[in-house]
Symmetry: C2
Subunit: 138 residues, 2 copies
Amino acid sequence: MRQTVKIKFMKQLKFDENGLIPAIIQDYRDGTVLMMAWMNRKSLEKSVRTGKTCFWSRSRKKLWVKGEKSGNCQFVREIRFDCDSDALLFKVKQAGGAACHKGYRSCFFNSFNLKKGSSGIIGKKVFNPEKIYAVRKG
Amino acid sequence: MRQTVKIKFMKQLKFDENGLIPAIIQDYRDGTVLMMAWMNRKSLEKSVRTGKTCFWSRSRKKLWVKGEKSGNCQFVREIRFDCDSDALLFKVKQAGGAACHKGYRSCFFNSFNLKKGSSGIIGKKVFNPEKIYAVRKG
C-alpha cells in the first residue's frame, strides 16, 4: 500500500528538460524557509526511501545527501507538490540547527527590504563553516 | 540612496541560462509557502518598482502580474536571496486570501506524508476558480 502511494506520487511530478525539479526546504515547526535545491528522480527516490533529503548538485553533477559532511541532515516529515506538479516543498526537521553551508540557519540570510529601502544580512551564524568544511569552498 | 540599494541588490543575483531565477513566495505573517514561480530581470525590476509580484510565464512567454485577473495580488514586504544568489524568497501580503489559481490558499496543496505513507489534498478551496477565470484552464 505504502509502496503504491510512493509510486503514484512520483509519477505525478514533472521534471524539467534536464530531469530536475526545484525543492523548497522548510522547517516543519516554525515555517522558516531553509534553502532551495534541485532534485532528479534518483535523489527524490533516495529522499523518500531514506527519509533524509538528497539533492542533485548541478555544479558537481552528482547526488549529495544534505548533511553528509556537516552532520546537519534534514529529516523529511512531509512532501508537498504544487498545482502544476513542477515544484516540491519539503517540511523537514533540520539537524544541527543550520541548513546553510555558510553557517546560517537559513540560506536566505540576505535581505532586501522594500519598505525601508535597505539591504543586509539577517540572522547570526550558528556554526563556523571553516571548522566544518576543511576543504570545500563557496 | 534607495535607488543605489536596489541596483546593488539586482547586480548580486545570478540568473540561469534562460535569464531566469526561481522565486519562492511566502506569507509574511504565518510563513506559509504560497507558490513558486520564475522571474527574469524585467519582472523582478517591476516587482521592486511596483511593490507587487510580477513573474515570467515560461508557457505563455510573457510577464504576468500576479492577481491581474483574480485581484489576488501579492504586496511585497521583503525580498531575500540565498547564499548562492540564485534563488529568491519573497515575503508578501497575499490579497484575497489565496495564491493558487485553483482556488487554494497555497499552490502546495498536494501532500505526501512519509510517516503515514498517505497522499492527498491539504486545505480547502478559498474561492471557486471557475467564477474568477472564465476562460483560462489549468
